[in-house]
Symmetry: C2
Subunit: 291 residues, 2 copies
């Protein structure tokens, strides 16, 4: 049993389970899988403006697991500790038929950002560009072709997902609503719209560098890569227009970039993309990884 | 993400993972499995004198899981909430190749009982009788024969394990060291001995009612059933002789019984059973369930 020192603000906790068959793509090492299990929790903390303090890890290991794999898992957990300054304080190890890594994270938040606070007129913002993860999985799982440099960053986005905790903590005071994009941008927009009772008009898709070319080369849709990806661990949220400039500066000081992609409207639940003056609906779809 | 109100004392957390293949014996329903996953955490809280406040559940579900099974899991979690007055505040659901239930429990402790505080001369105590779980598994898994009434309570000890949280919280202030018997009585004694730097002399084995007869009928050893079981979720600990009577009264008020089975000695790491005036070593063995 772990004793966790109290931090400032309210006590928060969350769990996220990584399962080999659904969350570990071909090419991902055990070290990367362990780090990813923690990243999944960190991403939610970042989007909600909560600072992780400690985490506990329950492992399910296959019978024939090698020493090297176990050391990889341990190294991945150390990577996570250093990267997000959170402490592994406890855990449990078991035998299971595939690798299972459950992360339980505990932390503290002065003000918790929720999904329900967006109002019509709020600016719609994201903290990164989209399209890399779905492209990366296409490359890893289906051998899609890509230029070396793009392939590197697309695969990296899958194998080494990097929620930006500093950016999340800096941005939180300005957000009226937010969530992370773990189920893809489209799903995040629909969820925020539904929970806040607003609509969203997306004016500028946050297309990652090289995504359009990758889409063309492989006969894919850029919009789909950007909107229906997942596990980007980017923050999708809303800020008041009057706060946008301060929010952008705070994010910049934290080493990130706040990207405005549209605005909240009063059309409840309607999520649309403006293309050359007309509107088309954004489907509530995402890519369920590896299924 | 769950917000957890602060309680009195220090913040504590633990995780415990239940995996179908190793922790769910034949005859155990999904409802019982879900309740057991929480019981595994509660047991550790009880032995350490910590009060559970909240828990989060990560589920791994087989692809073909039925509506009825999912409802069973939900009912088992509600059973646990009511039984131990702890609140299910969050969770995560995934697909996996076998049922996995990971429980992350958060609570508060004024004084945390550890495994390192036993001194020579302390009384060795337990809060229940042993032998039922190993007998129960023999009945469930191997069809061992037993009288109906004994079979009922032995199977019940496996399918419906009942850590006594009230007894644990009442006893905690008197304990110099303790742990729960999740790995069996012998393993608990060896662990406490090693961590506290003492030995133990067991004078009276805490043999459950009907265990001797069950052993005889099935050609088994009573000592082994009692010492090398596991998952009894009984507290094994030490109290100062001068406090024994107060501790026993406190446990009685909480609805339990404090059973003295021996004493701590200065022979570091030596764990022995006194039988008719002579001593025999207690092996550091347990039964690894279902493996």
């Amino acid at each position: 049993m772990a004793v966790i020192p109290l931090g400032p603000g309210r006590l928060v906790a969350k769990v996220d389970m990584l399962v080999e068959g659904t969350d570990v793509p071909k090419g991902m090492t055990y070290r990367e899988a362990a780090r990813k299990a923690v990243a999944m929790c960190v991403s939610d903390f970042a989007a909600k403006g909560a600072r992780p303090d400690s985490f506990l890890i329950s492992l399910g290991l296959r019978k024939g697991v090698t020493q090297e794999e176990v050391e990889g898992l341990a190294q991945g957990l150390r990577d996570a500790e250093q990267e997000w300054d959170a402490h592994l304080v406890g855990g449990d190890t078991n035998e299971s038929s595939e690798l299972v890594i459950d992360c339980a994270m505990v932390g503290f938040a002065r003000k918790l950002v929720t999904r329900v606070g967006a109002s019509p007129g709020d600016r719609l913002v994201v903290t990164g560009l989209f399209g890399y993860t779905r492209a990366g999985l296409k490359i890893l799982m289906e051998g899609a072709s890509a230029e070396a440099k793009f392939a590197e960053s697309a695969k990296g986005s899958v194998l080494h997902p990097t929620p930006n905790l500093r950016v999340g903590l800096a941005l939180a005071p300005y957000l009226t609503s937010a969530m992370d994009s773990s189920d893809g941008l489209a799903r995040s927009l629909h969820t925020l719209a539904k929970e806040s009772g607003v609509g969203f008009e997306v004016i500028a898709l946050p297309v990652g560098q090289g995504v359009e070319r990758f889409a063309r080369t492989n006969g894919l849709s850029t919009e789909q890569l950007v909107l229906e990806g997942g596990e980007e661990y980017i923050i999708v949220g809303t800020v008041k227009g009057s706060k946008f400039s301060s929010a952008a500066k705070a994010v910049k000081r934290a080493g990130g970039e706040l990207i405005e992609i549209g605005m909240a409207t009063s059309s409840k639940g309607r999520v649309e993309l403006r293309v050359r003056g007309s509107y088309k609906p954004i489907r509530n779809e995402g890519w369920t990884h590896l299924r």
